[in-house]
């Protein structure tokens, strides 16, 4: 009996070890050299961030992926980047109008989707962040978000049982530094490239559009594309899109950054890729669905008195126009990107 018991325990141990080993080796989570190759999609401009001084490697990318999904970056280790940047929502925050931080705190703006970031020269709704690498400092240190200091993040990672080894694999030694944290996150987020939607395939001639989608594209080009410029669906500028300022949030937008009065109430023109997944909409998440968005843009009487001139070139939109635009916007959903295994939470393995 005694021997049997030992054998049973041994077998359990063996099976667990095998399972663990399998999980470790699960190819689903492995990142190859090819996985981190930067491929500029056909028709896309030259990227602004070129991974100069931050050469792409599987190990650095894997470290960035782990940090992105690890709540250790927040003050009370409850909130990770991925808490608000959900893969299923093109790394936006599904169904949340405003960002959520530690201790149930609510931020002032809607979580932007993370995609095609290397074509942006500034980040955040107000463009306050001037480089992809320093972007994570903002949510990490924001008292309404992760409320943590970078110095404390470093000491937590240094004391962690696994991270020093991860840093060694990525950078050659176990030193944990802000530069390494930021560069690995830049590799992970910088490779979030969406360029294989039905729209892209239609443009490349490998897919077809319905009549409604075609009309929607034409309407979009006539009325929206001046700001939401193809193929990134943003011209990376800041504009007042006519929204009446929220009296509770009192958000001056771009003006907070530049201190220039005429920049008040301007916000970054967001890219529209995967828009089907990134509700709610606008910098303050005030519109729950695309119908509300299209209704707003369809009539200048909704606009504030400082709306950008382009806003007045949109409307009026008929119900049929809105339906066609809606059909077109759904073609921007990129399942290749949304289900890309490279971006899956590594803690799931």
């Amino acid at each position: 009996m005694k021997i049997n018991k030992t054998v049973v325990i041994y077998c359990i141990f063996l099976v667990s070890a095998l399972l663990y080993g399998f999980a470790e080796e699960n190819p689903y989570f492995q990142i190859s050299k090819q996985d981190v190759e930067l491929k500029i999609p056909k028709g896309f401009p030259k990227p602004k961030y070129k991974f100069k001084n931050n050469p792409l490697t599987p190990e650095v990318f894997i470290l960035g992926r782990k940090l992105f999904y690890d709540p250790i970056l927040s003050k009370d280790s409850t909130t990770s980047c991925a808490s608000c940047h959900q893969r299923i929502a093109a790394f936006g925050h599904m169904d949340h109008a405003l960002s959520h931080g530690i201790n149930g705190l609510i931020g002032k703006r809607n979580v932007p989707a993370l995609q095609n970031l290397i074509w942006q020269d500034a980040f955040m709704w107000d463009g306050g962040v001037n480089h992809l690498e320093v972007q994570p400092l903002s949510p990490i240190t924001n008292p309404l978000e992760m409320d943590e200091s970078i110095a404390h993040v470093i000491s937590k990672l240094q004391r962690n049982n696994f991270y020093p080894e991860d840093f060694k694999k990525a950078f050659g030694d176990t030193l944990v530094s802000s530069e390494r944290i930021l560069k690995s996150l830049a590799q992970f987020t910088g490779l979030m490239i969406s360029a294989d939607s039905r729209y892209d395939r239609f443009i490349n001639g490998t897919d077809t559009f319905s009549a409604s989608e075609k009309k929607g594209l034409q309407l979009f080009r006539d009325k929206c594309a001046k700001c939401h410029e193809e193929p990134l669906f943003t011209d990376n500028t800041y504009r007042n899109n006519g929204l009446k300022p929220d009296t509770a949030l009192k958000d001056l937008g771009r003006g907070v950054i530049t201190g220039i009065e005429s920049d008040n109430y301007k916000f970054k023109v967001p890219g529209l890729r995967n828009i089907e997944r990134t509700s709610p909409y606008m910098h303050d998440g005030r519109f729950r669905n695309l119908k509300e968005v299209l209704n707003f843009y369809s009539d200048p009487k909704h606009f504030n008195s400082h709306a950008a001139v382009e806003m007045f070139e949109i409307g009026p939109l008929t119900e049929q126009d809105k339906q066609n635009l809606f059909a077109f916007l759904l073609t921007l959903t990129d399942k290749t990107f949304l289900y890309d295994r490279r971006f899956i939470d590594p803690f799931m393995k």
Binding site: N53, N54, M124, G128, V129, N130, H131, L132, E133, V134, L137, S138, I140, T141, N142, I150, A151, I154, S177, S178, E179, L182, K183, A186, V256, I257, T258, G259, I260
Partner: protein, 234 residues
């Protein structure tokens, strides 16, 4: 480790074994700065104490008589609380007759837009604005009974590299007498915090006790750009 860029059309066959050590000595008027304990008075007679004083020095250029300038492409983060940071050691200088020094207070626009950086420019130093990317060039904090802020505190975090709120300031100082560099030498510089609060703008703590973004920042930078002077050369 200072990287030397010797901007000259010809390279003299002289050994680069000389050094120049810059000592930044912090004063308030004619008194050596004592943080926390000693009370000073501004132009309006308002009492104040200093609790924090840190700043960046960069883009150092040394002038030589009849020869090209020596440029040092390095950033230095000086902190009153850490004595060694107030000493900038410039090694491997070419010999010659040195007549003066230029430097920048702060961080140039390129280094404000260069992403993740290490050393003096590591954001761990608490001199980086995360929400509006860029370095704080100079931090001065303290308290004054005249300040209406919480705890009668005042805090001045001055930075910003974009017009019209550019706070980058240049300092140009002549040595009192030309220094023939031959071996190891020292230049002692005075950093006078009293200048921070006056000329051209007298700071009234009851009106201004906090500058932590572009508001009023260029005005303060104009005040403190004159805070440096040469005390002695050895």
């Amino acid at each position: 480790m200072a990287t030397l860029w010797v901007a000259m059309s010809f390279r003299p066959a002289k050994t680069l074994e000389n050094s120049l050590c810059l000592f930044f000595e912090h004063y308030v008027g004619d008194r050596v700065l004592q943080m926390d304990t000693v009370t000073y008075k501004n132009e309006l007679g308002q009492a104040y104490t200093i609790t924090k004083f840190k700043y960046y020095i960069s883009n150092i250029r040394l002038h030589r008589a009849g020869e090209s300038d020596v440029a040092i492409n390095e950033y230095y983060f000086l902190n009153e609380e850490e004595e060694p940071t107030k000493k900038i050691s410039l090694q491997g200088l070419p010999s010659g007759i040195y007549t003066g020094i230029d430097f920048m207070i702060g961080v140039d626009s390129l280094h404000n837009c260069s992403g993740a950086q290490s050393g003096a420019l590591d954001p761990i130093n608490g001199m980086f604005w995360a929400w509006n990317s860029g370095y704080i060039f100079l931090k001065l904090e303290g308290s004054s009974p005249s300040s209406h802020s919480t705890g009668n505190r005042f805090e001045f975090h001055i930075g910003g590299y974009k017009p019209p709120y550019n706070c980058i300031r240049f300092v140009s100082l002549s040595f009192l007498q030309p220094l023939r560099l031959n071996g190891d030498h020292e230049v002692h510089l005075k950093t006078d915090i009293a200048e921070f609060f006056k000329d051209p703008e007298t700071i009234d703590f009851s009106k201004i006790s906090s500058v932590t973004d572009f508001h009023n920042a260029p005005m303060i930078a104009d005040n403190y750009k004159d805070m440096f002077s040469v005390i002695s050369i050895k």
